[in-house]
């Protein structure tokens, strides 16, 4: 089974105080560490697990600058056989443009399955995967939590709300967007990533793909960022942990709950 996985490098923003940058349309990123988008990491692990079980190859693709090769190296350390970076330097791509660019590259590859994350941690749009499927004319499923290939089809589990799952059969080749929790992504050591740097990494220029630049112009754009409204926020408890504990106990008891 040959699998293509599309990944994105994103800033780590948990437990970080985000600030709006001078342009007002994005956050300051220079001091933030970056990593592979969490959803994409699950997608990659799933691809590697399927390859280990059924044979075949895993090809990982990203669109971005040289810094973004970091996530491809990490993917190679996890077990990806082939890595491609589409160099986007100087080009502002929104999810529509990104899907077009990816389609142009993936079209040439040999695949039974294409996996992406459900969404990216930074912009939270959740668009690229399904759009890529449409450009390639493939059947797709969003928010997938299990994949079991069965000949020319795959049995999949789609996560709905409220604990309900849809069990479906989808024709291959197909594109699936992967939800977190589908597997337990392996640990990747710094040593393994360093070793992967010796492997081949292909770079394609976005303007070599034969796309009309007009097709890639953004259709949605962030006009301005706004800090979250602080209306209706919590009353903050202060003091050392024992003092906070005292207040929590008092507040809980006031609701009538017995402790």
């Amino acid at each position: 089974m040959n699998i293509v996985v599309c990944v994105k490098r994103v800033p780590i923003t948990q437990e970080v105080d985000l600030e709006i940058d001078a342009g007002g349309k994005d956050v300051k990123k220079d001091a933030l560490p970056f990593t592979i988008n969490e959803w994409d990491n699950y997608a990659l692990e799933e691809a590697v697990l399927l390859k280990e079980r059924l044979g075949g190859t895993v090809t990982v693709v990203t669109v971005g600058g040289e810094d973004d090769e970091e996530v491809l190296r990490r993917a190679q350390a996890m077990g990806a056989d082939r890595a491609i970076r589409v160099s986007s330097e100087g080009l502002e791509l929104d999810p529509f443009g990104l899907a077009k660019v990816l389609a142009q590259v993936v079209r040439e590859l040999d695949y039974d399955l294409i996996l992406t994350g459900v969404q990216a941690e930074d912009d939270n749009y959740g668009l690229v995967g399904v759009m890529l499927a449409e450009h390639l004319g493939l059947p797709h499923a969003a928010v997938v939590t299990a994949i079991e290939p069965e000949g020319p089809t795959a049995r999949i589990k789609v996560e709905l709300e409220g604990g309900l799952d849809e069990i479906s059969r989808i024709n291959l080749p197909a594109l699936l967007t992967i939800q977190t929790g589908i597997n337990e992504p392996r640990y990747v050591s710094v040593m393994a990533v360093r070793k992967a740097r010796k492997k081949e990494l292909e770079v394609r220029a976005v303007n070599s793909l034969g796309l009309d630049p007009k097709e890639l112009s953004p259709r949605i754009m962030t006009w301005e960022l706004l800090p979250p409204p602080d209306t209706g926020g919590a009353v903050m408890l202060t003091g050392d942990p024992p003092q906070i504990a005292d207040q929590i106990i008092r507040i809980v008891r006031e609701t009538g709950v017995n402790l």
């Binding site: 449409e134 450009h135 709905l160 059969r169 929790g181």
Partner: protein, 322 residues
């Protein structure tokens, strides 16, 4: 005609709340720009949702087939893209749900129209929609513009708008046959299963002690379980804990888990993704402890402490034992 389309979502024979929320918002937007509201219903032969929709729209386009009893990825995309091409509505609203996430991006490619997802606020200025949505997991809000085209697509976050009684209609009903040239679906639903059933029922608990990503390690869960036992509460969690297989899905609070209604919800190390917050709107009182004072959970909590959860957990245990 300038028109707003609302794609009705239903599941297992029930109209979903998001459908009524979108119809309410569509009504408000339509009034401000003297447009009409068209509800689009793809449903099974026996499904009767018309009564609930007819008073909330000017037009109701219905297409019935057994295959459409529940969401069908290929058929929904094909039928709706044909309808949009024919009617060219100015704005189309779709739920930001797993099915909406499956459908909307495909429609955007078919129509070539811009799409913004997970919208919390929608305004129309100079015949162009402008939306507000969250990025970076709710730590920042973005005002997003959609560039000029004949039509626009938006997915709407469940709960962002209320479902109100509105006076529109009775809708003019247009029945459509499934076209004979429709290709067979490439994805077939086999069954629906409930994966959240388990020994614990967190929906009935009076006190929930809930853990999130901040718990850090599987072994630490025991420390919090001891606190939950001491308090006479039930242990629950947010998504990352289930993703890591540290607790079974029956413990999960949120959109893809359970909606809960305890008197007190004590959130420990939970950042407060909107999918989680949607599950605790019925809680009487929310107390949150999180190291990150900017965590979105503090916007939804009644009381908060920007502190190390383990220090607070240990202090609580000592006091309750003492």
């Amino acid at each position: 005609m300038s028109d707003i389309f609302v794609v009705i979502e239903h599941r297992l024979g029930e109209l979903r709340e998001i459908s009524l929320q979108m119809l309410t918002k569509a009504d408000e937007l339509a009034q401000s720009m003297s447009a009409g509201v068209t509800a689009v219903l793809l449903a099974g032969a026996e499904d009767g949702f018309e009564d609930q929709i007819a008073a909330r729209a000017d037009r109701l386009i219905v297409c019935r087939h057994d295959r459409l009893k529940n969401y069908d990825s290929d058929w929904s995309t094909e039928l709706l893209s044909r309808m949009l091409a024919e009617h060219r509505p100015f704005l189309t609203l779709i739920g930001h749900t797993p099915w909406g996430l499956d459908l909307a991006p495909a429609l955007a490619v078919r129509t070539g129209w811009p799409l913004a997802t997970d919208c919390l606020e929608i305004a129309v200025t100079d015949r162009r929609p402008e939306v507000i949505r969250q990025i970076y997991g709710g730590k920042m809000f973005a005002r997003v513009h959609l560039l000029g085209t004949p039509g626009y697509l938006l997915t709407v976050r469940p709960g962002a708008f209320p479902a109100e009684q509105i006076q529109r209609g009775p809708a003019h009903v247009i029945n459509l046959e499934v076209p004979a040239d429709l290709a067979p679906s490439r994805r077939e639903v086999l069954e629906y299963v409930d994966s959240s059933a388990g020994e614990v029922d967190i929906t009935q608990a009076e006190l929930l002690v809930s853990i999130g990503r901040g718990v850090g390690d599987e072994e630490n869960i025991l420390l919090v379980k001891e606190l939950a036992d001491l308090m006479g509460g039930t242990l629950s969690c947010s998504r990352p804990v289930v993703d890591k297989h540290w607790l079974p899905k029956a413990h999960q609070v949120g959109t893809s888990g359970k909606s809960v209604k305890p008197k007190v919800y004590l959130a420990l190390g939970i950042s407060g993704a909107f999918q989680h917050l949607a599950g605790i709107t019925g809680a009487g009182l929310v107390i949150a402890v999180n190291k990150d004072e900017k965590a979105p959970i503090f916007r939804a909590a009644d009381y908060g402490a920007a502190a190390d959860l383990f220090e607070v957990v240990e202090a609580l245990k000592e006091k309750l034992k003492g």
